[in-house]
């Protein structure tokens, strides 16, 4: 049985799960409404109490929106952060906190980090299985955006084809991220440091010319200005990584004796499997090697635990709101009791009154859930835009199967709960209600 299930496509599995979740509600509806044509009457009752009905439906909608928005948002953030980390296979840095290094190197959240020296870099770059070993240099900025020193090879790794212009070829040239408000041909002078500590003019009249622009990749690198690492070292009064007879070709090989140091080396191996060997080899007393993807997975695992708690709370909130609404609906049925008594007097069976009350509640639940899905989508999109603007990680939250499953389960549970207020209407005294 399990093997058959595994052979079915993920979409088919999701559809089957959705149907299974909806099934209890659908079966309940089919049984309760069997043999009746309550549509006109139901509409009349809802219209007669349209404002109260609207409040009930909106309460349910808001609770569903919170639940679906929360899960969609969490997934969007997880996917966005994972996508941003995709180009970074292996990072080697001085021993420390992997998360701190990952945030600095991948998400460009600079922090003070110890440097790896020239011989260490040399050993990594010369490793036969390493195809790319890019030093990076942080610390400068332009109008709040990070200026990152690196090699042309790493820029090519980030984007094989530039959106505009060409790769930098001299120390005074730069390639900018897609969201940097400069164009090819513009000049900019870097400030020393970043944020509130940024010192404009600290590097004198030194200016870069933008010669290329990266395509957008939904990561903080979209706002970064990438410059030759040699120039970053030089404007800080350090050696440029090359000997005095350097021919001016940017990037490796660097001479260990003239290598000022780098907080992290972005490494790419000849094959995926080789990354594991490199991580093992570069995990020494002097170096720390890690996969950003693995660190992110651990973070997501932690987020996943939080997500489960939040999802549980969201479901609990939804059920509580639905239960409150159903309790309030029980009071509303008192308003309808005289009409129900009339129906009973002219020959409507008890089961019909039961079906009418249940379908009244269920219609509000289904309508509220549908509106809630839309509200959840809109809310998560707004929050995504805010998170994207603040973190520069492109977060695209949309409704997915988990949200549809959540709402389907919620609808089924609550329409079954709606049997309770419907059952209470059976106990109403017809004659007293006729006289009320």
């Amino acid at each position: 049985m399990l093997s058959v299930w595994d052979m079915v496509s993920a979409t088919a599995q999701n559809i089957v799960l959705l149907v299974l979740l909806l099934l209890p509600g659908l079966v309940t509806g089919a049984i309760v409404l069997r043999g009746y044509a309550a549509g006109r009457l139901l509409w009349a009752l809802i219209w007669a109490h349209r404002w109260v009905s609207l409040v009930f439906a909106m309460l349910i909608a808001v609770s569903v929106a919170i639940g679906t928005g929360l899960t969609a948002q969490e997934r969007g953030l997880r996917e966005g952060s994972a996508k941003a980390a995709e180009p970074f296979d292996l990072i080697v840095s001085a021993p420390g906190n992997e998360i701190t290094v990952m945030f600095a190197a991948v998400y460009l959240q600079p922090t003070d980090m110890p440097l790896l020296d020239g011989p260490t870099y040399q050993a990594i770059a010369d490793h036969p299985r390493v195809t790319l070993a890019a030093p990076i240099a942080f610390g400068d900025s332009y109008k709040g955006a990070p200026v990152v020193g690196t090699t042309p090879q790493f820029v090519t790794h980030l984007a094989a084809d530039l959106a505009a212009g060409r790769m930098f070829a001299t120390p005074e040239e730069a390639v900018i991220g897609a969201d940097v408000p400069l164009q090819v041909g513009d000049d900019f002078s870097p400030a020393h440091n970043i944020g509130e500590a940024a010192e404009e003019g600290a590097h004198g009249d030194f200016a870069y010319t933008v010669v290329g622009k990266l395509p957008a990749n939904g990561s903080p690198w979209d706002k970064a200005l990438l410059v030759p690492v040699e120039s970053v070292w030089e404007i800080h009064g350090l050696a440029n990584g090359h000997t005095a007879d350097w021919d001016g070709t940017l990037g490796p090989p660097f001479d260990p004796a003239f290598f000022p140091g780098t907080p992290a080396i972005l490494v790419r191996a000849e094959a995926l499997w080789a990354n594991y060997a490199l991580r093992s080899e570069f995990s020494t007393e002097r170096t720390m090697a890690f996969f950003p993807g693995a660190v992110l997975a651990r973070l997501h695992g932690l987020m996943g635990d939080v997500r489960e708690v939040m999802s549980g709370l969201a479901i609990l909130t939804q059920v509580l709101v639905a239960a409150s609404s159903l309790a309030a609906l029980t009071l509303l049925t008192r308003l309808l009791s005289r009409r129900f008594a009339v129906l009973r007097a002219i020959g409507a069976p008890r089961r019909f009154i039961f079906a009418l009350t249940w379908s009244y509640a269920s219609l509000l639940i289904v309508a509220g859930a549908a509106v809630g899905l839309i509200l959840g989508l809109l809310t998560s999109r707004v929050i995504s835009a805010v998170i994207s603007a603040r973190t520069d990680i492109l977060v695209q939250a949309g409704l997915g199967w988990p949200e549809f499953h959540l709402v389907a389960g919620f609808v089924s549970v609550t329409v079954i709960l709606a049997l309770l207020p419907a059952a209470l209407t059976l106990r109403r005294p017809v004659v007293s209600d006729l006289r009320s």
């Binding site: 044509a37 006109r40 009349a44 002219i346 020959g347 409507a348």
Partner: protein, 220 residues
Amino acid sequence: MTHPLEVRDMVVTSDRGRPILAVPRFDLAAGEAAVITGPSGAGKSTLLYAIAGLVTVAEGTVRWGETELSALGDAGRTAFRRDNLGFVFQDHMLFEELSALDNSALAAAYAPRRDRAALRAGAGQMLDHLGLKREGRGTHSYSGGERQRIAVARALASDPGIILADEPTASLDRATADRLTDDLLALSARGRSLLIVSHDPVLQARIGRKVQVLDGTLAA
């Protein structure tokens, strides 16, 4: 189909078991009309509800033709009302958001599928007979007299043999009340049993048989 009514030694009690209505004997021939009179609170409406099977009688019997209503359970009494009784209430008790036709054909909502079309057709004919147009607007926009006639159409849509009416003219002006009385008496003339609770002296005067309820007892 009309049925003769036969009530014997009927006692209706309150929820706490206190007797609130006693009817030693009451008969209504098939197709006969009678008006139930008496002061407010005497038990007139309770009598109407008891012989409609809306309350469970504590003692005695209520028999409509071959059917001993008082011996049936709730489902049986409900089915009897659906098939044989038409009810007209004091203040119309319509679903005001529905059209005249939908109100008149209310029973189609819970009737078996095979009967629904006939019920709607019957309701439409009854509206025509009572001089009401089949318009789509809600009945809240109709006059009081028109609404009461819609209520009559609802009571007669399934062509019941028995019409029970509880103060049907109470909320109507004189002219409208007289027209409704004409309608009800015309139904009686066509063989339907008619039992009306009413304080209306004009209506009382037009119905030959009067039954008085005093202090919870039927004085035949």
